[in-house]
């Protein structure tokens, strides 16, 4: 347990490092997004997956995690790499740029959350249909449920299995 005093000092060091790293992280992020756009437009799976190397460069600083969007891109790349390895259709299939890719990822989270909380049948059903329409892979569902905010994952898996998605 840190004392307030040491905590204070370590937090200042932490924030000083953030400020110092901003100049490094932002260009890396821009470079990554540009590369993603290029390879999504080309529908080049191999090249798209290779973009993760740029993210890995940022990861070495440990500070890219301070940008929530960067964290989610890492999760997306984890999905893409896993899918590529298994020969699945990639999560990015038919998408043209990084914005569409992130939107699909977020919509999948929403859809899974609707299943988890099951507020209203119509609302939940919309979520299930969305997952069906985007042909989400088993890999992607598991990765999202493991890394995003879900607790009742067994319930989600059961519904998806019942509906033939898993």
């Amino acid at each position: 347990m840190e004392t307030d005093g040491t905590l204070k000092k370590s937090m200042q060091d932490f924030f000083d490092a953030i400020v110092a790293s901003k100049g490094l992280i932002m260009p890396l992020k821009e470079k990554m997004l540009n590369a993603m756009d290029l390879f999504l437009k080309m529908q080049s799976k191999e090249n798209l997956v290779s973009v993760k190397a740029i993210l890995d460069d940022a990861e070495e600083t440990g500070l890219y995690e301070l940008d929530a969007e960067m964290v989610r891109y890492r999760r997306i790349f984890d999905i893409l790499m896993s899918e590529a390895k298994k020969g699945y259709i990639l999560f990015s299939d038919s998408l043209c740029n990084h914005t569409e890719l992130m939107e699909r990822y977020i919509l999948c989270i929403f859809a899974l959350r609707r299943i988890e909380f099951d507020k209203e049948e119509k609302f939940t059903e919309e979520g299930i249909q969305m997952l069906k329409n985007c042909h989400i892979s088993e890999t992607a569902i598991h990765k999202i449920c493991e890394t995003e905010i879900f607790a009742k994952t067994e319930k989600i898996y059961a519904v998806l299995a019942e509906r033939g998605i898993l």
Partner: protein, 674 residues
């Protein structure tokens, strides 16, 4: 104001997130008789400006402010919020998660939080055993997390300070408390909200607002951890009575904090050594070679105890008050002063450290004295040597105290100048951390040492070491604190007076002219300065000044009348000359003269470097001849002995043309306009 209405206000920059958050609002139950509306603010300049826009758009009494990535899941949310507000009219704000004690570093998630929310940290655990402790009923907090909170009253939001997307929640919580409202977090058997911020925030600008919050809301940051260690070095010399009192006082503090107490005894012969040897909770060093110089005393004590960093150094005649360590710690944390010298308020020292006890009915008022509108601290050229904090590693950076300087004053003046040369800040907090009343016996009896004074002069190539501002002159600069005046001081020395003006008037442009190169170099760390001889060249000729100051300088000039005439050309309309001038006719001079003595000295009324000598009448004549029409003169009087009073009475009988003040004024303060 519609008391039966609740408005959801959401600042948004992401339509996708917003749409989903709005979907969840549709599932909330609306109590009978309650009206609900939703406002989305999409082009806000900051979170607080968005909140304000939402406030102005609705007449709802109750307002719920949401992040776009917050999904309210609890169906009875609206009813619960309204019933909490109705349960106590003093509740101004309700959060889902909050803290009862803000951590010292102002990072809420580093402290203990209460309340509940679904977040990524709850992964793999049942929601009911969520990480935050759940208290029964309502929990009073000092700050809430901004992902979702509700208010029942509109108080001013601090858009002046928090113009971004961080710390608006902490600020708003603090403002409700400052306005006398309770801020609470209700018990939630299951979290009422899910906050999907992507696991972590974007923190690029967080630190900026963290610092602003720490400066503005010093009173809200928590108590010092009882694991925090303070190192205190007491120095003493034949003051056993004071030593005992001081140690006793520090022992009381050590019930709350870890204190390492060290005592440097400079060869006392009053039983101090024997008493110290019986104390088990302190370390001491006895200089058995007898009284050593102040510099050696400090150097050897610091070396013996390993006190090279973060140490409070006190003379035992200063009594540290309870709460001092808390205040000091808060100050260090909120000012982010990583290294520097921190001084304390006293009525025994001039400059901004000085607080006149006569202003207060009770000394305790002085102990909580604060210039609230002047930031966290004043920068100084020096502080009272009897008590100061060496913050950070400045001892390692600046080096040992100069042991060739025996006297305390000379040793510290030298050290302060070395600090300034190295841009190490010397500061006095605007809020009193500790107040030392010299009437309590806090004057230092460290012996004067003429040789040290001469050594210091030789070392620095300076005759005067004016580390203290001329407060009598500064008091004549009566301007609003936000006024951008131009001030020039002729003979500014190390710029103590100009620095003090800058402390009071941050927008002032201050300039100095100083003939001594060394002093000008020191001054250049604080003000724009020209090393110039006023008799040859007037400095900064392209500027017109509101004030041109001569602090005990005119008497040193070969032709002060000519200088005043030149100065007129560089004054703004309405600008004035401020001058302090020693009075040759002071009774102490007259008495010696009556004895046949007119002996020049190193300093004072008969300073050997004075070229001109003035009386009240001569001052008036000179300013009139220089063309100044409005001449206001104040006399500076120090208490005089009874026999001097009687002598003045006798002199007035001999020559009634003279007035009493002409004899008892040590110095005159002149404010002259054309």
């Amino acid at each position: 104001m519609n008391e039966n209405k609740l408005a959801f206000i959401i600042c948004s920059n992401d339509d996708l997130m917003l749409e989903e958050a709005l979907n969840y609002l549709n599932f909330l139950e609306i109590p009978d008789g309650m009206e609900v509306e939703v406002f989305t603010i999409s082009d806000a300049e900051s979170m607080l400006s968005g909140m304000q826009e939402g406030r102005e758009a609705t007449d709802a009494k109750y307002k719920v402010f949401l992040h776009q990535d917050t999904f309210i899941l609890y169906p009875h949310f609206i009813e619960s919020i309204v019933s909490i507000f109705e349960s106590d009219s003093q509740i101004g704000m309700i959060g889902m998660v909050g803290t009862q004690k803000m951590p010292m570093d102002a990072v809420m998630w580093n402290g203990d939080r209460i309340g509940a929310m679904y977040t990524w940290e709850s992964k793999g655990v049942d929601y009911k055993s969520y990480r935050y402790c759940l208290a029964d009923g309502l929990n009073d907090v000092v700050a809430v997390d901004g992902f979702c909170f509700a208010t029942a009253y509109d108080i001013p939001l601090r858009m002046d300070l928090f113009d971004g997307w961080d710390f608006y929640d902490v600020s708003t919580s603090f403002e409700y408390i400052r306005n006398g409202y309770r801020v609470v977090v209700p018990t939630q058997n299951e979290p009422w909200c899910l906050h999907d911020d992507g696991m972590i925030l974007s923190l690029w600008n967080y630190d900026k607002y963290r610092h602003i919050a720490m400066k503005e809301y010093v009173e809200f940051f928590g108590e010092i951890s009882n694991e925090e260690t303070f190192k205190i070095l007491l120095w003493t010399e034949n003051s056993l009575r004071y030593l005992k009192l001081c140690v006793e006082n520090i022992r009381l503090m050590s019930q709350e904090y870890v204190i390492e107490l060290y005592v440097a005894d400079n060869g006392s012969s009053d039983g101090t050594k024997e008493w110290l040897s019986q104390q088990e909770d302190l370390s001491y060093v006895y200089f058995d070679e007898g009284r050593v110089g102040f510099a050696k005393l400090l150097n050897e004590s610091i070396a013996a105890f390993g006190l090279e960093q973060d140490v409070l150094i006190f003379n035992v005649r200063f009594f540290p008050q309870q709460g001092m360590l808390d205040k000091l710690y808060h100050f260090i944390m909120s000012s982010q002063l990583k290294k520097g010298i921190v001084g304390f308020h006293s009525n025994g020292f001039y400059g901004d450290q000085y607080v006149d006890l006569k202003q207060y009915e009770d000394k305790t008022e002085a102990e909580i004295f604060r210039y609230r509108d002047r930031g966290l601290y004043f920068q100084e050229l020096g502080v009272h040597a009897g008590a100061f904090n060496l913050q950070g590693d400045i001892y390692q950076k600046i080096g040992r105290f100069d042991e060739s300087l025996i006297g305390c004053e000379e040793c510290m003046e030298d050290y302060f100048l070395r600090c300034i040369q190295n841009d190490v800040p010397i500061v006095v907090p605007t809020e009193t951390i500790a107040f030392f009343d010299v009437m309590d016996g806090a004057s230092l009896d460290y012996r004067d040492d003429d040789n040290s004074r001469q050594l210091l002069r030789d070392k620095w190539g300076m005759n005067y070491f004016n580390l203290l501002a001329n407060m009598r002159l500064i008091n004549e600069v009566a301007e609003d604190s936000d006024k951008a005046i131009h001030v020039l001081e002729i003979g500014c020395d190390n710029a103590a007076t100009l620095l003090a003006i800058k402390n009071r008037l941050p927008k002032a442009e201050v300039y100095g002219a100083e003939i001594n190169k060394k002093a000008a170099e020191i001054a250049s760390h604080f003000v724009k300065v020209e090393c110039a001889d006023i008799n040859v060249n007037f400095p900064f000729q392209n500027i017109r000044f509101d004030y041109i100051i001569f602090g005990d300088v005119l008497e040193h000039l070969p032709d002060p009348l000519k200088t005043l005439k030149i100065c007129k050309n560089y004054l703004n309309d309405g600008g004035c000359i401020l001058a302090s001038i020693p009075n040759l006719m002071h009774i102490s001079v007259i008495r010696e003269l009556l004895k046949g003595n007119f002996t020049y000295t190193d300093m004072g009324l008969l300073d050997k470097t004075h070229i001109h000598l003035f009386t009240y009448n001569e001052i008036v004549k000179m300013f009139k001849e220089a063309g100044f029409g409005q001449i206001n003169i104040k006399d500076v009087v120090f208490p005089i002995a009874d026999n001097d009073s009687r002598l003045i009475d006798s002199l007035l009988q001999l020559e009634p043309v003279a007035k009493s003040f002409m004899y008892d004024s040590f110095q005159f303060i002149v404010k002259a306009r054309m």
